[in-house]
């Protein structure tokens, strides 16, 4: 039982880590809570679903590898483009007005509500499924069952986490992103255009959210409201790991996933959200810098 719960926690955690990583990449450059991140996650899943069902209607009942590739690629790229659009048309004008953080927060809530309901208007409120073929029996490891799809989710998300980590640490663009995160003015002085870096962050962060949404849609069903919970888990994970810290976001995701699933060992599954938010409140009040104590904005000044 406990092995199964930990395994479930790791799988859920890998998705949380992806969302938290995307959220953190964006947070580092713009320094406000981008709530609309959750709806980008939903949009990625729905885009893939649309392409998937469009391609499926033309052929027989099974999609080729190329078809899958196209559907997933469009989902991820679409999510990235959506992120860029949100920044260009809403956050960019607000930045020029030097709006307060709370204004950004409410505007991003507005984007979230608008887009989520737009998706609901187009696709309906009902649950949709991307069927990946016949359901197979899972594999047995360490007294726990894991399905093929779950292995795929774990593998892909861990791969994405490593690639992103290397990208930010090793490439020139990653270095520029770190520079803007540390000090946008100093970065500007040495010839980095902060606006370009912000756009890049939105593109990468949103693409990650889209990827997370697509991965989860293989495992469970998709519905218009799925982004809300996912977003909150992503935010909680980033705060637990230390807001703005990239390894922290990854760790926080896994930590939250495992904590949530171990929590329902003794109490009912319905309390999962309650556990997650209790963790958030405890961290916010007692350790706002996360487990390793990242310096918050206020302390930096």
């Amino acid at each position: 039982m406990i092995q199964q719960l930990i395994l479930n926690g790791i799988i859920a955690g890998s998705i949380y880590a992806l969302i938290a990583l995307g959220f953190t990449i964006i947070y580092r450059t713009v320094k406000f809570f981008h709530f609309a991140h959750g709806v980008v996650y939903t949009a990625g899943a729905y885009l893939t679903y649309s392409v998937f069902s469009y391609l499926l209607s033309g052929t027989s009942n099974q999609l080729s590898v190329i078809g899958w590739g196209i559907a997933i690629l469009i989902g991820i790229v679409g999510a990235g483009v959506l992120g860029i659009f949100i920044d260009r048309f809403i956050y960019h004008p607000l930045r020029r007005q030097k709006a307060s953080n709370l204004t950004f927060l409410l505007a991003s809530f507005g984007v979230f509500i608008f887009l989520q309901n737009l998706i609901q208007l187009i696709y309906g409120a009902q649950i949709l499924t991307i069927r990946t073929g016949p359901i197979k029996e899972g594999h047995q490891i360490f007294n726990a069952v894991i399905t093929d799809i779950q292995i795929l989710i774990l593998f892909v998300s861990c791969w994405l986490l490593v690639v992103l980590w290397l990208f930010i640490q090793r490439t020139k663009l990653g270095k520029a992103m770190r520079a803007v995160a540390d000090d946008p003015i100093a970065a500007n002085v040495v010839g980095i255009n902060p606006e370009r870096i912000i756009l890049t962050s939105f593109a990468i962060g949103s693409a990650l959210a889209g990827a997370a949404g697509i991965l989860i849609s293989f495992e469970t069903n998709i519905e218009p409201t799925m982004g809300f919970n996912a977003l909150l888990k992503g935010i909680i994970a980033s705060i637990v790991g230390g807001i703005g810290s990239i390894p922290g976001a990854m760790f926080g995701g896994f930590f939250l996933g495992i904590a949530e699933n171990l929590g329902i060992w003794k109490i009912q599954a319905g309390w999962k959200d309650c556990i997650a938010f209790a963790i958030l409140i405890v961290f916010l009040l007692l350790r706002p810098g996360g487990i390793w104590g990242v310096k918050t904005e206020k302390e930096r000044l």
Binding site: A99, A125, L285
Partner: protein
């Protein structure tokens, strides 16, 4: 006609919620995103008292509002430690926790099935069943709330609240116990939200957790921001427009599967436009910090 009165009653309940949230967000400058939690606590307390112990709604309303006020100490506590977005997030989280408790504590609240058959108000043995009588009742409470909150914001106490919003450190330097005032304002706001929740429960006679989601809190905040931060007449305008305007969609003959998301889309769009063009709201003088 019945329908029109019903909308007016709902508007009144939202005005109470908006006024009380304006006290916290607009006057004291504390971004609180969990206001629906207070009305949830008020509604459930007085409904459960009425259903399980036969307590009359009048007493239930007072107890419900008091329990909500006590919960204001817990939900307002983060305001002492956190600022800005972090406070918004913490109150948001506490809102989700309250919602989650109400939804999952099935043995007490019947969870998602909700509580049906909540008795209505009665005056001298006469059961209030007509909608217009509820309109009078709600109008009375709106007046009471407005009057009390106006007294609060125009008193020396209200000046301290505005002091906290404008410059917390200066207020602290004046020898005011800022932390105590912050909690106190959450308690007062929660009390009125509890009244609104209790009125709603006894008016509709059915409540379930879905009426008190976090989206509801955001809607109330939108009403405050739309009408104007720190403006009482703004709260009246904000709540009235945002309750009545989406109802007009019904008259366009749309099926509810279209009208419901469309209504939310309008809210979302309004929030975006408001933030871009006029972050202080229609009648507000103060911007969000």
């Amino acid at each position: 006609m019945e329908y029109l009165l019903h909308i007016l009653v709902l508007t009144g309940i939202y005005i109470i919620l908006t006024l009380s949230l304006n006290l916290i967000v607009g006057y004291t400058g504390l971004p609180a995103l969990g206001h629906a939690a207070f009305s949830c606590i008020g509604a459930y307390t007085s409904s459960l008292l009425a259903l399980n112990m036969g307590v009359t709604p009048w007493i239930g309303l007072v107890i419900g509002a008091s329990v909500a006020a006590i919960s204001g100490i817990v939900i307002g506590y983060p305001a002492v430690r956190l600022k800005g977005d972090y406070l918004a997030l913490a109150t948001f989280g506490l809102g989700v926790i309250v919602y989650s408790i109400v939804k999952n504590w099935v043995s007490l609240t019947r969870g998602p099935m909700g509580l049906p058959g909540i008795p209505g108000f009665s005056v001298f043995g006469f059961q209030l069943s007509e909608i217009w009588s509820y309109l009078i009742l709600v109008a009375l409470f709106v007046f009471l709330t407005y009057f009390t909150i106006r007294r609060i914001v125009n008193s020396p106490f209200g000046r301290i609240l505005r002091g906290i919003r404008e410059d917390e450190i200066a207020t602290l330097a004046m020898g005011k116990d800022v932390d105590r005032y912050k909690i106190l304002i959450f308690v007062i706001g929660a009390f009125f939200a509890g009244i609104a929740g209790s009125l709603y429960a006894h008016y509709i006679t059915f409540i379930d957790p879905s009426s008190f989601t976090v989206m509801e809190s955001i809607t109330i905040l939108l009403m405050v921001v739309f009408g104007g931060m720190g403006s009482l007449s703004g709260s009246f305008i904000g709540a009235s427009i945002l309750v009545i305007f989406p109802e007009l969609l019904r008259f366009l003959g749309m099926p509810s599967s279209v009208a419901a998301p469309l209504r939310q889309m309008i809210y979302g769009l309004l929030l975006i436009i408001l933030m871009l063009k006029r972050p202080q709201g229609i009648l507000g003088r103060y911007k969000l910090r």
